[in-house]
């Protein structure tokens, strides 16, 4: 399954024109945000654990 980056239409001469961004990108934007959150939660857990160990 391929993902489109752009939405296309045609002008009155039948030429292809860009209509906007493909809505295939909507889940990409959503999951990119979720990825940042997950990565930060993992980083946060590890840094807290090492700080806890360092603190004795």
């Amino acid at each position: 399954m391929s993902m489109n980056i752009l939405r296309y239409g045609h002008d009155s001469y039948g030429e292809q024109v860009v209509n906007g961004a493909s809505w295939d990108l909507l889940p990409v934007a959503f999951w990119a945000g979720v990825a940042v959150i997950v990565i930060h939660l993992v980083y946060r857990a590890f840094s807290r654990r090492s700080a806890h160990k360092g603190g004795g």
Binding site: L26, G33, V36, I37
Partner: protein, 196 residues
Amino acid sequence: MAQDNRILRHAGIDRLFHWLTAAAMTVLLATSLLPVIGVRFAWYGIHWVAGLLLTVLILLHIVRGVFWQRPSTVFVIRSTDLHSGRAGKYTLPQKLMHLAWTVAVLVAIVTGLLMLRKAGVSFLERDPYVRSLAAWGVLTLLHDLAALLSVFLILVHVYFGILPEKRAYLRAMLSGWVTRADLKPEHDVDRVERGD
């Protein structure tokens, strides 16, 4: 500015701006993206009214920022921002978040205002022939990309807003105040009090 152990971080007018902007952005994203995922309703009327509200809010924010505040506080990245405990009013991630929102919102507003001509509103007659299809396509593409960036930014912004260790910033956006102890881990309190 300072009273006892408390420091005013956000004045009432700035907190009002933040939450009205958040409401406008929520309405704008809901009215534009719910139809994309299959929720059908008459979205356009709500969308352009919320877009104009956002435009007015951002104009007021710019005027307030330029004439009553110091834009460098949030826009200029200094070497000290890279060191934990030495940031001014805003940490480096907060400055980057503000910069990203600036790009997303300004692109959305400029392209949105231009596209009012294509679809028409009550005070502006519809005339899609003022630009070529290709030009409308580029404007729509930029508007869409600003919306997609906003989806990403909202997730990240809300996440960091509700993290327990960042809760003081959320409290400041609700009540206005932070304590020196709240700021100590990441900020240079002297810089904050100088308005730097």
